[in-house]
């Protein structure tokens, strides 16, 4: 008996509205300092370090859209029959460098939902791919997140 109903699986392929953001020197510097980076080009904000797309595209929501534990609800995801999140994985491809002044657009797609049986019961896996492109529509970063629910 599968936990994944046909209705739930119909969410595969669902896509978020594209989000366009401006890369600034100040935001690069803040991120480089906060991560303990030791490279001058990042600390000075001349270039964005790897993973800078994480702060650039973290959801900015209003206070009443946060859950009591301070988390913003991911509207791309359907309601899953399992809710306890376990460790997740990240795959990132880097195609082009990022500099202050760049405008980047991210689109997230729910690309897969599947089930496996774990030692302590069933597990649900889902995958979200985020494509980041520049204004010339060239791919800058592709990130795939895999999360496990139990």
């Amino acid at each position: 008996m599968s936990l994944l109903s046909p209705e739930l699986l119909q969410n595969i392929g669902r896509q978020s509205e594209p989000r366009r953001e401006l890369v600034t020197r100040r935001d690069i510097r803040k991120y480089a300092v906060a991560t303990g980076n030791r490279q001058r080009k990042y600390l000075d904000g001349d270039q964005a370090p790897p993973m800078f797309h994480v702060p650039l595209f973290w959801d900015v929501v209003e206070l009443d859209e946060l859950s009591p534990d301070g988390v913003s609800i991911d509207t791309l995801l359907p309601k899953f029959p399992l809710e306890k999140a376990m460790a997740g994985g990240l795959e990132i491809e880097y195609h082009k460098p990022i500099h202050p002044g760049d405008w980047l657009t991210a689109t997230r797609t729910l690309t897969d939902i599947y089930e496996k049986s774990g030692r302590s019961g069933p597990l649900i896996f889902y995958e979200v791919v985020m494509d980041v492109v520049d204004d010339a529509e060239q791919l800058v970063i592709r990130e795939k997140t895999t999360r496990i629910l139990r």
Binding site: V54, G70, G89, Y94
Partner: protein, 145 residues
């Protein structure tokens, strides 16, 4: 000049070569600044009574992507201007907490001469020596951003 240096370094690369290790100890201030830079309001990262009493953690939880960033730093500091990261694949396996001493490191596991690329197995480990964040990175020599 730079290209020649990168080429000779790639030529000398051997499977099993180890990356320099680095220690990280994330304090309250750094964790707060990191989550502020993200706009991440998750209380397990800054509200210690909440993290302990409601969620049952032993302390403030270090945000998972910060450990992912440290894996990148470990590889980039080793590469210098001789190459760049093409891709990474990592997972957060074990939670880590403010005040823990963590170590990043890695070793070369494959070399692809025709592409000028190498595969590097990377890790963040805790004070007990357990790997909390394993990963695999593909690097390309002779291309630097």
């Amino acid at each position: 000049m730079k290209a020649a240096a990168a080429k000779s370094r790639f030529g000398a690369l051997k499977i099993g070569d180890e990356l320099p290790q680095r220690q990280f100890e994330c304090g309250n201030v750094q964790l707060m600044l990191y989550n502020a830079a993200l706009w991440n309001g998750h209380r397990i990262h800054f509200d210690e009574p909440y993290a302990r009493d409601v969620e049952g953690y032993p302390g403030l939880v270090i945000a998972g992507p910060l450990l992912g960033d440290w894996l990148h730093q470990c590889v980039e500091e080793w590469l210098g201007d001789d190459g760049r990261i093409v891709s990474i694949d990592y997972s957060n396996r074990v939670a880590t907490y403010v005040g823990e001493v963590l170590t990043s490191g890695g070793k070369v596991t494959a070399i692809h001469p025709e592409a000028g690329e190498a595969e590097v197995e990377v890790f963040i480990s805790n004070a007990e020596g357990a790997v909390v964040t394993p990963g695999k990175v593909v690097v390309r020599f002779g291309e630097s951003w």
